[in-house]
Each structure stands twice: as structure tokens, then as C-alpha cells.
């Protein structure tokens, strides 16, 4: 007598990590958009004052005695763009089953992420302002601090991907793709913040 076994429906679980990263990335992007919208609301509500050279009226939002170190902020942006390129290199290397280049690329991404965090700390040090000195300072630390925490999460992702690769799970390409996607999202979010907070001020 033959026993009949009814197999349960087979789940076609594909790209779960990539999809989850995409949804998490959407959340990250919305978080920064929401914070930037409040930033813009405060900036637009600031009273008008004459610019330092007396040629035009500007919003009295950025305190006169505070200068944003633009070299450090621009360097951070460039660093993050490079991070995207290197993260994509990791994807490329994984597709070619090139383990040494995958390790190298992931390690470089992690180091660049740490460098971006370091640059943000340098910005804090150079600006020499207290978090409770005024509304601008409070909002500045809140939004840039949140961005720094997100960059730290990206570094953790890179390290996890690196350890997985070192452990021999190189064939898991979607993790590499998800890792690259997350850094794209972080770079896009930072770019928006960079333009509004550091460039437009």
C-alpha cells in the first residue's frame, strides 16, 4: 500500500533580504525627509535679517557666529558616493565569484562608512556649538545625529556582509545587492541633508 503524502504548498521565497532592505531603506529615506521638512518649516519661520555684506535679506536661521566647515561636509558627501561605487564593486565581484575582491570591497565600504562618521564628528568639533545654545543648534544636532546613527547602521551591515562572505557564503548574491542598495539610500538621504542643512544652510 502506498502512502500518499500531500506536500504543503511550496513557498517561493526569493529576494527576501533585498525586499526587506528596500522597505527598510524606504523607511530610512522617509525619516530623513520628515526631519528635513521640519527643518525647512523652522527655517521658513525664522525672521528676516540683512546678510553680512548688506546686499540682501536672508532668514535669520543660521546664527551669525556659526560657520559650517564646508570642506568636511563636502568630503563626507564624496566619501559616501565612493562608498556606493565600492559597494557595487562588491556586487560585481560576487557575481564573478571573486572572493578576494569581495572581501576587499566590503572592507573598504566599512572603512569609508567609518570615515564618513569621523568627518561628521570633525564637523561637530570644528563648529564648537552647544546643543542647547539655540533652536538651530538643537535641530542641527538632532538631524545630523540621526544621520550619523544611520551611517553607523550601514557600517554594521557592511561588517555583517563581510563576515558572511568570509564564512563562505559568497553565493548569497542578494545580500550584496541589498548591501549596495542600503548604501545608495544612505547616500541619497545624506545628499538631501547635505544640500538643505550644509549648502542652503
Amino acid at each position: 500500500m502506498t502512502a500518499t503524502v500531500i506536500s504543503p504548498p511550496r513557498s517561493a521565497a526569493k529576494h527576501q533580504v533585498f525586499v526587506a532592505t528596500a522597505t527598510a531603506g524606504s523607511a530610512v529615506f522617509m525619516l530623513m525627509l520628515g526631519m528635513l521638512s521640519i527643518w525647512l518649516r523652522f527655517r521658513d519661520a525664522a525672521p528676516l535679517r540683512e546678510s553680512s555684506n548688506g546686499t540682501k535679506m536672508i532668514r535669520d536661521w543660521l546664527p551669525v557666529n556659526i560657520a559650517i566647515p564646508e570642506v568636511a561636509t563636502n568630503t563626507t558627501l564624496i566619501t559616501l558616493v565612493m562608498t556606493c561605487v565600492i559597494a557595487q564593486w562588491a556586487v560585481y565581484a560576487t557575481r564573478r565569484s571573486d572572493s578576494s575582491h569581495t572581501y576587499l570591497a566590503l572592507a573598504i565600504v566599512a572603512v569609508l562608512g567609518i570615515a564618513a562618521i569621523n568627518a561628521q564628528i570633525a564637523v561637530y568639533v570644528q563648529m564648537e556649538m552647544g546643543i542647547a545654545d539655540g533652536a538651530y543648534q538643537t535641530l542641527f544636532y538632532a538631524i545630523t545625529g540621526t544621520m550619523t546613527a544611520l551611517l553607523a547602521s550601514g557600517v554594521v551591515f557592511s561588517l555583517v556582509a563581510l563576515f558572511r562572505a568570509l564564512a563562505g557564503r559568497l553565493s548569497d548574491r542578494q545580500v550584496m545587492s541589498a548591501h549596495a542598495l542600503y548604501w545608495y539610500v544612505l547616500t541619497a538621504a545624506f545628499s538631501a541633508m547635505w544640500f538643505i542643512v550644509y549648502v542652503q544652510k
Partner: protein
């Protein structure tokens, strides 16, 4: 005999040890579970605990309002009690109830082996629970909006932040499951309506909760340090109120439409009509996202020229009326199906249908509230809207638990009891909210229990509201007892 007693004692000790080991083992299983049904039930139980406390506060505030000249609670704690009610109902009840049902049921509907990222989902529950406890404790200890205890206000903001992150983690898990873990050959247009509504609801949470989280981060940093930008403890309600009010609550309850469509479709023909109506209705309701994401309220101003009125009416209709159309479509196709083929009176249908009707009434009330000449902002009308939506959604959750009782608990619930709870719950919802719709027009102020004077039976309205909360407490407690009652041994399990 002695030997037998010794043996008996040993057996007794052994069974006690086994019992305690089993208890510890069972607890450990629950704490570290990756079973989607258990994670869903954890969310549901947490939501019901919050619900009982929220109803208690609503009842106490109702009693306070019966006499407008005196106050039982200290005056400075009244606003915090209102804050507790709103925070609890939105983040402690509505969001976890429907996230919980989604986590438990969606994998079964789409043929997934499990929920995607089950540990993240469980982590989300723990974050939500930790944040919930912080919110509860902080408000009790003079924290929360308008709170006088600075540390507890900080704790409140941290708690709300944790709750939002926890819900976000669970929502990512649900969305990932529907998108990427469906069984082979099941395209997204063929998934059951509830899974569709869970997906849309989860995506809605993923897009809106981070925005609310951003406000919480700003408010927390500002309150902890300078209190210069966001008004300190007095500004919290303004800046994070979006997370615990309308229209954010509409996002929390998107799955109610999926529940109703499933319940109706499982009891008669016209399934294709209900399915189409469900998909379309959920999609239209999701347009409420635009209002939440843009943080805008579009009032209808009945002033100026005809052009001014039209200019005001278009965004008002798009942001406030269009989402209601989604609920209306699902209700309409459901009633049409029932008219075509009157079903047997079954357990889940009563609370689900009546609950969605209450949600619809609440959303209509919100649209009326957005008509500027009605002058309802800041009145108890807003509370009526909140209670209609909140308690209505709770009724739908009761219907969902009854409908999927076999999947959730391994046995069905007694029909008569659930129908009874559905009807009493409907009466409770109407009593707890309709009087506020009426006295809102008499300008009884929200967030206040004293000093309201207007012509009419003031005490009667507030007695009715209090009675409604009391009835709802009976329903929730009774339903909790029914679902927590130990499962009787079946014939198969008898040795």
C-alpha cells in the same frame, strides 16, 4: 504502603519538577519564538492589555465629566489622562492589533512557510512592549505631554520612539512576506483580500511611521536639552500628536477592510465582487497616506467667491473624502452580497460588519470636523471621532479573531457569545461616541472635564458616554476570558 507513598512523593516531586521545567520551557519557547502565530498572538495580547487600561481611563474621564463643576482627579493630571487615552488607543491598541493579526494570518494565506524575518518581527514586539511600558509608567508618573516630571517626559518620548520603531520592524516583516514569500505561482493580484490589506497597511506604516519618528527625535532632543524650539513639555502634543491622531489612525486600521471582505466572502457567493471591491477599497483608503506624509490638514472654507470655495473644496475632498470612499465601497459590496444571499448569523460577521460601520461613521465625522464653518476643532467632537474609529476597529479585531480562531487557537469560538459581544460592542461604541458628536456642536471642549456650560442635558450626554465605556469594558473583558479559557480535552486527546 510506605514504599508506595515514597514512590508517590517521588512521582509528585518529579511531576512538579517536570511541571516547572515545562513551564520554564514553555515560557522560553514563547520568549524566543519564531512561530508567526505566536508572535501575532503576543501582539494581540499586548493590544488587549492596553485596551483594558485605555477603556478604564475613558470610563474615569466620563465620570469626571458628568458634573462640570468639580473634578475628582487633580486638575494638572487631566490632560495627561487624555493623552494616555489617545496614545494608548492609537499606538497601544489599533496598531498592534492589526499588525498581530497580519503576522499570524498572512503567511497562512499566501502559502509562506513562515513570516519573513521572524526574529525581527519578535524584536519589534519587544521594542513595542518596552516602549509601551515606558509610556504607561511615564504618564502615570507625571510625564507625557504637559507633564511636570522632566525625566518622565523624556521617558515618554523615548517610549513613543521605541513603540514606533517596534511597529516599523513588524511592518517591514509583513510587507516582505507578502512581496517575497508567496507560494509558487501565486501572483500578487491573486492573494486574498486580507493579505492585500495587510500589505497596503504595512507599506503605509513604513512610509508614515518614520515621519512621526522624526518628530519624536526632534522633540526628545529639544526637551532633554534646551527646550528652545519645540515648546518643551507643552509642545509635545503639537509635534507628536500626528502619530496618535487622525489621519494616522486610518493607516493603522487599513486591514479592517480586508477582515470584513474575508468574512463576507467566506459565507456566500459574489466572492469575485467582494474581492474586487476589497482590492479597490483598500487601494482608495491608502490615499490617506498623502495627508499623513505631507502633514497637512485641508479644511473646507465656506467663504469668499465661488472660485475660492472650489479652490478650498478640491484639496479637502482629495484628502478627507477620497479615503472614505474606499471604506464606502467595501461596505457597499459587502451589504450587496448580504442582500443577494442572506447568510446565517455567524460569529465573525456581526462584529466585523458593525465595526467597519463604526469606522465609517468615525471617518465621516473627521470629514465634518474638517469643515471650517462647523467650528468643531478643539471640541469633544474630535474625541467622538477617535472613539468611533478606535472602538469600531476593536470590534473588527474581535471579528478577525473569531474568524481565524481555528488558525490562531486551534478551536473555534462559541458563535452566540461572539455575536453577543459584537452587538453589545456596537451599542458601547455608539454610546461612547455619538453623544460627543452632538455636544461637540454645543462647544463642549476637548481635553477638559470642568467648566463647560451649554443648554441641554449635559449630565445625560456624559452619563451615556460613561455607560458606553463601561459596556466596552465588559465586552473586552468577556471576550478576553472566552479566548483565554483553557481548551477542553477533546476525545482524541483523552488517554
Amino acid at each position: 504502603m510506605t514504599a508506595l507513598e515514597a514512590s508517590s512523593a517521588v512521582n509528585s516531586n518529579s511531576s512538579q519538577t517536570n511541571g516547572s521545567q515545562n513551564l520554564v520551557g514553555e515560557m522560553a519557547t514563547w520568549i524566543t519564538t519564531t512561530d508567526h502565530k505566536r508572535i501575532g498572538r503576543l501582539f494581540l495580547r499586548g493590544g488587549f492589555v492596553w485596551l483594558i487600561s485605555v477603556i478604564g481611563v475613558g470610563f474615569a474621564l466620563g465620570i469626571e465629566r458628568i458634573d462640570s463643576g468639580s473634578s475628582f482627579f487633580p486638575a494638572d493630571s487631566i490632560v495627561q489622562l487624555f493623552s494616555y487615552f489617545r496614545t494608548g488607543l492609537a499606538l497601544g491598541v489599533l496598531a498592534p492589533l492589526f499588525i498581530g493579526v497580519s503576522i499570524a494570518i498572512v503567511p497562512l494565506q499566501i502559502g509562506a512557510r513562515a513570516i519573513s524575518f521572524a526574529r525581527m518581527s519578535l524584536f519589534g514586539f519587544y521594542l513595542w512592549m518596552l516602549g509601551s511600558v515606558m509610556v504607561m509608567v511615564s504618564i502615570i508618573d507625571n510625564g507625557g505631554p504637559f507633564g511636570g516630571n522632566r525625566r518622565m517626559v523624556d521617558a515618554y518620548l523615548l517610549g513613543v520612539g521605541l513603540v514606533l520603531i517596534g511597529l516599523l520592524a513588524a511592518a517591514i516583516s509583513v510587507a516582505s512576506t507578502v512581496i517575497s514569500a508567496r507560494s509558487t505561482g501565486l501572483v500578487i493580484s491573486e492573494i486574498p483580500v486580507f493579505s492585500w490589506s495587510a500589505l497596503i497597511g504595512a507599506v503605509g506604516l513604513i512610509l508614515t511611521l518614520p515621519i512621526q519618528l522624526g518628530s519624536v527625535i526632534y522633540a526628545a532632543v529639544d526637551h532633554h536639552y534646551g527646550r528652545l524650539a519645540f515648546g518643551g513639555n507643552y509642545g509635545i502634543d503639537k509635534w507628536i500628536g500626528g502619530a496618535i491622531g487622525q489621519p494616522q489612525t486610518f493607516i493603522f486600521i487599513i486591514p479592517v477592510l480586508g477582515v470584513l471582505a474575508e468574512v463576507i466572502a467566506s459565507h456566500g457567493p459574489r466572492r469575485q465582487l467582494i474581492r474586487t471591491g476589497g482590492f479597490v477599497g483598500v487601494g482608495i483608503l491608502s490615499t490617506v497616506l498623502f495627508g499623513v506624509v505631507t502633514r497637512t490638514e485641508h479644511l473646507f472654507e465656506w467663504s469668499g467667491s465661488l472660485g475660492d470655495k472650489i479652490t478650498s473644496a478640491i484639496p479637502y475632498a482629495l484628502f478627507n473624502l477620497l479615503p472614505i470612499l474606499g471604506v464606502f465601497i467595501v461596505l457597499a459590496v459587502s451589504l450587496l452580497a448580504l442582500k443577494t444571499n442572506p447568510p446565517r448569523l455567524n460569529a465573525p460577521l456581526v462584529p466585523a460588519l458593525l465595526g467597519v460601520g463604526m469606522v465609517f461613521t468615525g471617518m465621516l465625522g473627521y470629514a465634518v470636523q474638517m469643515i471650517a464653518p462647523a467650528d468643531l476643532a478643539g471640541t469633544v467632537f474630535e474625541e467622538g471621532v477617535f472613539v468611533y474609529i478606535g472602538y469600531g476597529a476593536v470590534l473588527v479585531a474581535i471579528g478577525a479573531i473569531a474568524h481565524w480562531s481555528n488558525e490562531l487557537r486551534g478551536r473555534s469560538l462559541p458563535s452566540g457569545v461572539v455575536i453577543g459581544f459584537g452587538i453589545v460592542g456596537f451599542m458601547a461604541t455608539v454610546l461612547a461616541s455619538l453623544p460627543y458628536y452632538i455636544v461637540g456642536f454645543a462647544n463642549q471642549r476637548a481635553n477638559s472635564v470642568t467648566n463647560f456650560e451649554y443648554d441641554g442635558p449635559r449630565a445625560l450626554w456624559n452619563v451615556l458616554v460613561t455607560t458606553g465605556h463601561a459596556l466596552m469594558a465588559i465586552v473586552v473583558l468577556g471576550f478576553s476570558i472566552v479566548i483565554l479559557r483553557p481548551q477542553p480535552l477533546s476525545a482524541k486527546s483523552t488517554p
